[in-house]
């Protein structure tokens, strides 16, 4: 799972400076048409003659992202809409047809996909079942993406030129909900995006024109596109590792759109003439993972469910969202975006902010409040270490948690870690609370739970944070992997999440986060997808100014 919308660490000084800078420059009279933010104008929008979009993206994700991210130029983690998958994920987390026009479960662990007869590659060649096999086998064989693989070389079977059957290596019926991930892009034989991105021949509305590592990816319209053609002639994705520079580039018109705006400057940027802010629905949840045991299986402090529940009750999510995050988030009770659970999201209640309940639980667990305001038991103070990746999470967020813990007599020891040390802490279980922001990039409502908390998951950290193999949670996750009906799947996932959040308190959600983009007024047709890896660009166009 790629975590895409995390903030790079910024000191308070930098953030303050950025705000001042934006204020200062917004008074500089360099701003567009003066129509203000929001894009509420009703006048008719006429496309401009020149249809070129420049996107200010974060640091080159194929160079700078964590080695654990399975990079694939040009579709993951940044999706330039060059490649398509058998099915796609709608902004409402529904599975929609793309290269496959229909699919069905044919029994056992096998799904049959029928290819859309119109689908063709950017060189005009029609897509065949052999191409699908090549693509899925390519992913399975590449070590860079094999971490994702629930498929093997025997998984994909060609039935006829337009039909393939796919059988995951393990019993799991969530194939269709997960195969929208860009790493399962359909490639023409000979495409080898790992070795040379320019060999990439896909079916999407754009095709690669140029890639300069660390600087830019340029894609142009695929004139052989088999669906509705892209409105843009060209998109240039420029990479800006620094949040403030990226935002300033939007202000001076060097780019038309920027991703991942620092939340502290959203309010200021909204007031800049010629710029509007566009947001997705919630696509990620900022949450705390609790370490129940270390890598050797020895119990840690939070193996006591009363302590975990106390931590959850100590958190004031309203204050967090409206104070620390400046209202640029939503209060949620789920560990995945509520949309993905459909009508069953309300089954997850969340543990309310209730310091008295927290105190009672801690008392029951034998942690008594001392004269110094810190709880202790058998002479040991109640101290919980909070780890986070300092390049992805702002310290102010962790300081909020520390302050709320202090309210109930718990010492929160903040450990700002570099990515290597952070990964090491997660692998060894040498922490108590881990703050992270996982994205929901597919339609499986149980995906994150299966990946992170399920004791049978392959990740090392699952052994540390899992509620345990003999729990109701595990039984429900097992069932989500065998559900054949969407409603049933969502219900089971919601029940599992209820166990995880409300009963086990092994995952403590803090806020639902959406993607925030800064866009120049002349850019139209953009629907911000809550999952960045599923963003599409084919309806975007530039209007006459």
């Amino acid at each position: 799972m790629g975590s895409v919308v995390h903030r790079r660490k910024r000191s308070i000084a930098v953030a303050t400076f950025a705000v001042l800078a934006l204020l200062a420059s917004s008074c500089g009279g360099n701003g567009g048409n003066g129509s203000g933010g929001g894009g509420g104008s009703q006048k008719k929008v006429v496309p401009a003659d020149k249809q070129e979009l420049v996107v200010g993206a974060t640091a080159d994700p194929w160079v700078d992202s964590s080695p654990s991210d399975k990079k694939r130029i040009p579709n993951y983690p940044l999706n330039a809409d060059v490649c398509e998958t058998l099915v796609q994920l709608s902004p409402k987390y529904e599975v929609l047809p793309v290269v496959a026009s229909k699919w069905e479960h044919v029994g056992g662990n096998t799904f049959r996909f029928t290819l859309d007869e119109r689908a063709k590659f950017s060189d005009g060649r029609p897509v065949t079942a052999d191409d699908v096999k090549y693509s899925l086998d390519y992913t399975v064989q590449k070590p860079e993406t094999s971490g994702f693989a629930f498929l093997g070389l025997e998984s994909t079977k060609v039935i006829d030129p337009r039909t393939v059957e796919v059988t995951p290596t393990k019993p799991n019926l969530r194939l269709v909900e997960q195969i929208n991930h860009p790493t399962y892009a359909i490639l023409a034989p000979g495409s080898d995006p790992f070795s040379d991105v320019k060999t990439t021949n896909c079916t999407g509305p754009f095709k690669v024109s140029e890639y300069v590592a660390g600087e830019r990816l340029v894609v142009v319209r695929n004139d052989n596109y088999w669906g509705e053609p892209a409105k843009l002639d060209k998109i240039t994705f420029r990479f800006f590792p620094d949040d403030t520079t990226r935002t300033l580039a939007l202000q001076n018109g060097e780019v038309d759109l920027v991703t991942d705006i620092p939340r502290p400057v959203v309010g200021t940027l909204e007031k800049v003439p010629g710029i509007k802010i566009e947001k997705s629905t919630v696509g990620a949840v900022l949450l705390m993972y609790t370490a129940l045991r270390d890598a050797q299986g020895n119990p840690r402090l939070l193996s006591d469910v009363r302590l975990r529940q106390a931590v959850a009750h100590a958190m004031d999510k309203e204050e967090f969202v409206n104070g620390v995050l400046g209202g640029n988030a939503e209060v949620v009770d789920t560990v995945a975006p509520p949309t993905v659970l459909g009508q069953y999201a309300s089954m997850v209640k969340g543990l309310d902010h209730d310091p008295k309940a927290a105190a009672r639980l801690l008392d029951e667990a034998g942690w008594k409040l001392g004269a110094d305001g810190v709880r202790a038991k058998d002479g040991a103070r109640l101290e919980l270490s909070i780890v986070f990746d300092q390049t992805r999470t702002e310290t102010s967020v962790v300081e909020f948690i520390q302050a709320r813990l202090k309210d109930v007599g718990v010492v929160g020891k903040i450990e700002r870690l570099d990515p290597g040390a952070y990964r090491n802490a997660l692998d060894t279980g040498s922490y108590d609370l881990d703050l992270s922001l996982p994205n929901q990039n597919d339609a499986n409502p149980a995906f994150l739970m299966s990946l992170r908390w399920f004791s049978k998951a392959t990740g090392k950290n699952a052994k540390i944070i899992s509620p345990g193999p003999d729990t109701e949670f595990e039984r429900l996750i097992d069932q989500t992997q065998q559900a054949t009906d969407k409603q049933e799947l969502q219900r089971l996932a919601a029940q599992a999440m209820h166990q995880l959040v409300d009963v086990e308190a092994a995952g403590i959600p803090l806020s639902g986060m959406y993607r925030v983009l800064g866009v120049r007024d002349r850019v139209h047709g953009l629907e911000v997808h809550p999952s960045g890896t599923n963003q599409r660009w084919n309806d975007v166009f530039i209007a006459k100014e």
């Binding site: 930098v14 400076f17 800078a21 200062a24 600087e215 520079t245 001076n252 570099d418 290597g420």
Partner: protein, 318 residues
């Protein structure tokens, strides 16, 4: 002079070996088993003791320290600095591919900084306590106090956002070089200017300067031909170190201006505990510093007759 240069060059070999030993020991003595670390990234499950043992044998981690170090030095001498854990690419290739971008702003920034510092430093010293001296000292104080990222943002806001004269960031035509070069140069000019001023003031108080003036030489000749040359000895030493710092990467400038140089790459590698890159970078940096120091030593000989005399004595006049 040639003999002196050769002698200095030979003296660098043990220094370089010391650096390489430090770099190698740094990664070898760092906490954690490298085999476990590398395998941990390649595998989803924790590596088994058998996998770790097989890997150690395969890459020679079981060999004695001195054997491993010898292998590392021999490789480094051939430009083989190992393979990055993060990218799987040779470290040398990774550094070499980013070095031109760093050099492209480091050299002009150094030239601008040195020229500006010399000009303002000399004027400030010659016109001591004048308005221009006070102004330049205040400017230098500001230059030293303002962090480079603040300076970078200020330049972007003024020249790119408000005036629209220059691009905000990125690589491209000559206009893309202006702001990163200026940021680097201005941050350094202050230090060099203050040093030039103080060194020159000290030299201007020397007896031989007074003698030159008493002989009726023009002030410009006294300052530029005699005093400045001697004052430059200290300036060149610091300038050499600053230049070496420039060419081994300037993280903040590269990050703010989205400049794909060596600095950001190395910082990301440090964050990711990519010991192969860290080790390679230490050797690379050490080599640059050693070579720049050599260049500075040779410049001393040109600038200071006393050093020249000592070098001639020590090499028997060859």
């Amino acid at each position: 002079m040639t003999a002196y240069a050769l002698r200095r060059l030979l003296a660098l070999v043990p220094t370089w070996l010391g650096i390489s030993l430090f770099a190698f020991a740094l990664s070898t003595l760092s906490p954690g088993d490298p085999a476990e670390l590398i395998l941990g990234r390649q595998l989803d499950d924790p590596p088994t003791p058998q996998q770790i043992e097989a890997f150690r044998e395969e890459v020679g981690l079981d060999d004695p320290f001195i054997v491993q170090y010898g292998r590392f030095v021999a490789g480094a001498a051939r430009g083989d600095l190992g393979t990055s854990f993060r990218s799987g690419e040779p470290v040398f290739a990774e550094l070499a591919s980013r070095f031109p971008a760093t050099l492209a702003i480091a050299v002009p920034a150094f030239v601008v900084a040195f020229a500006l510092a010399l000009l303002v430093g000399v004027i400030s010293a010659v016109r001591r306590n004048s308005l221009i001296d006070h102004a330049s000292r205040i400017a230098a104080l500001l230059g030293d106090s303002v962090p480079s990222f603040v300076l970078a943002y200020m330049l972007i806001i003024v020249f790119a956002v408000n005036l629209g004269m220059l691009p905000v960031a990125g690589r491209g035509g000559p206009e893309h070089f202006v702001l990163p070069v200026l940021t680097l140069a201005l941050a350094t000019t202050a230090t060099l200017m203050r040093l030039t001023r103080s060194s020159l003031l000290e030299v201007l108080g020397e007896d031989y300067v007074r003698t030159a003036r008493a002989m009726g030489l023009k002030e410009r000749t006294v300052v530029l031909r005699f005093a400045l040359k001697n004052a430059l000895v200290a300036v060149v030493t610091v300038a050499g170190l600053l230049f070496a710092g420039f060419v081994t990467g300037t993280v903040i400038v590269e990050t703010v201006f989205a400049w794909p140089g060596i600095g950001r790459f190395v910082v990301d590698s440090i964050f990711d505990r990519d010991y192969a890159v860290i080790r390679g970078f230490v050797v690379f940096t050490g080599t640059v510093f050693v070579l720049v120091n050599l260049a500075v030593d040779l410049l001393y000989v040109r600038l200071d007759p006393r050093v020249r005399l000592m070098s001639e004595r020590s090499t028997g006049g060859r």
